[in-house]
Amino acid sequence: MAQMNMVQALNSAMDVMMERDPGVVILGEDVGYFGGVFRCTEGLQKKYGEARVIDAPIAEGGIVGCAIGMGVNGLRPIAEMQFADYIYPGFDQIVSELARLRHRTAGDFFAPVTIRAPCGGGIRGGQTHSQSPEGIFTHVCGLKVVMPSNPRDAKGLLISAIEDDDPVIFFEPKRLYHGPFEGDPEQPATSWAEHPLGEVPADYYTVPLGRSQVVREGGDVTVLCYGTMVHVAQAAARLAGADAEIVDVRTLAPLDADTITASVRKTGRCVIVHEATRFSGYGAELLATVQEECFYHLEAPVTRVAGWDTPYPHAFEWDYFPGPRRVAAAIENVLEAA
């Protein structure tokens, strides 16, 4: 077992898969010689050559379009978007092509493309380096959408994504690249080196897509969260003094409704947390699922805590970020209700 941060874990996932499968290629801006602006592909071009770790023109639409063609020709491309905020120029290729190719050809063609995109804020990135657009992609049938919250899951999920024959949008909470983050910027930064989930097998293993994970068992309230918010939720539960059951959703689509509903049926209360804007976001789907499937178990309204419905600000990101105090207040509210 090696100790890895999330960047290293992702790098290791790609390394392992490139070693095992000559069809795995990487494509993206600055991913080759340089190793990526977040260094996730460091060393891979040197190891696997310029024809497999490919520096690309700055054109996300072209990157996705070419990746689809490569996938159709038998490769397993991993396309890196430099920031999730820059995925939109590739949106048409993702939504109109990648997501629906298998369906429209009745299975005769498909493209097993994985799109990696660093998401989320807390790095003073302002409106164009902080977004969490997962809720836009979870609405697109045919896509799988994943967001890990720790190095061990990140590697195992990324390997699963690469091996999956369906397209996967793989969001990486960049605030977690180098350490867990409980949402308080005043606290000293912690690193994955001391964290049990920073213990990552050096070899091949998978964490299956489509399975959520209960990261803390509890009886009072279920907190549904993913990515950075998994850590924030833990801090919030402590702040609120609540015996919370915390579920790391991990695969956002298709959703592991069983794990979620089992938990809410047990606790009778639920708080949903994400960093993305609230209105019409993915949290609404989680809430809807919980409401539909656990209505008769609910003792209080299911509550969402999310980014405000504004662009992600630069200066006031800690007022924007749904931090532990905001989540704790919601937990307390839900616990006090009726």
């Binding site: 290629v25 072209g62 379009g65 120029p89 092509e97 429209r104 050809t105």
Partner: protein
Amino acid sequence: MTQAARFHVPHPSARPGEAPDFGYLRLSAAGAVERPSPDARVHDIEHLAYDLVRVLDDDGQAVGPWAPSISGETLRAGLSAMVLTRAFDDRLLRMQRQGKLSFFMQTLGEEAVSVAAALALQPGDMLFPHYRNVGLHIARGHNPVELMCQCLSNSRDMCKGRQMPIMYHWARGNIFSISGNLATQFPQAVGWAMAAAIKNEQHIAAGWVGEGSTAEADFHHALTFAAVYRAPVVLNVVNNQWAISSFQGFAGGERRPFAARGLGYGIASIRVDGNDFLAVFAVTRWAAERARMGRGATLIELVTYRRGAHSTSDDPSRYRPRDEWKAWPLGDPIDRLQAHLIARGEWNEADQAALEADRKAHVDACWREALSYGSMTEAPRLDQYELFEDVYRDMPRHLIAQRDALRALADYQPKAGPASEG
């Protein structure tokens, strides 16, 4: 409100009621354009983007350096495929008018664009068509019955009823699926070609878009990626002068041929008479050879004319002279190839009549067979629950639940209404 002085608005050369005028087309005489070696430097062959490669002269002779050495057999195969394409086109258009198909798009007048290219490429080369390339399927031998079944959304529809008519694909025949979203196939073709190069395989890719679609982002993406990685791909722009109601000037074709776009990227670019079977064949061969030898992509502009309506939902008499096509200076691709075969002494009018009758009869037989597999509204039909398949490789829980809900709905008896309503 008067027209603003510095706001230029392109105008087609003729609107309904006016005399057709194709004077804007830059034509070269047959045989007049030189043929460089396929490994020529782009710098040395820029003129090819402005000239018009033509092989067949007015007497049906193949003239000049681009005249390909091509067997009579291949020519007859091409002629046959073009005639079949047209018979197919004609039949399905009529069937749409009779309500058998929900929709159709003709290829009329553009047969050489597809058929000649298909014959010039190798069967293992991967084709990324747009919707007016059914000739690729026919020339590669895709059974018309299968194409018709797609158009009928019947029990044998390769798309399982999921796509509108004409959105064919053929995995075994190496022809990619047609998308509703314009131009998306262009960078995909480049990516396929890049993969072939990465895997050190010899096959190349070819893609097609309409001239109107060159304005889309994916045209630019395709050219950029093809240029940067010198991808072995042939990128075709079918300039049929119209994009629904918009003439080619609205895609930026007023001052430069579309072929010229390639030059700025350093991509070899050729403008060719799209109604000249031999010219399309020769230019495609040249481009394929160039790609196979590692010299990268070629952008080919095929100058042709969309003779029919845009689709069965369109009425072109609202925006262009009703018989504009009659003034089209580059003739009809079938007539011209026929004239050539006759000039070669390998064909005569009786052969042509026989071929046309035969292909028409074949289409009729295919149509009858296709109908026997049902239609969108008549049995045998596909199972409607198929619509939940292939969203993912394996059906996830929520889709199973939705499929079951649709099943259950069949038995539902509304409280206050007839069970049949809705």
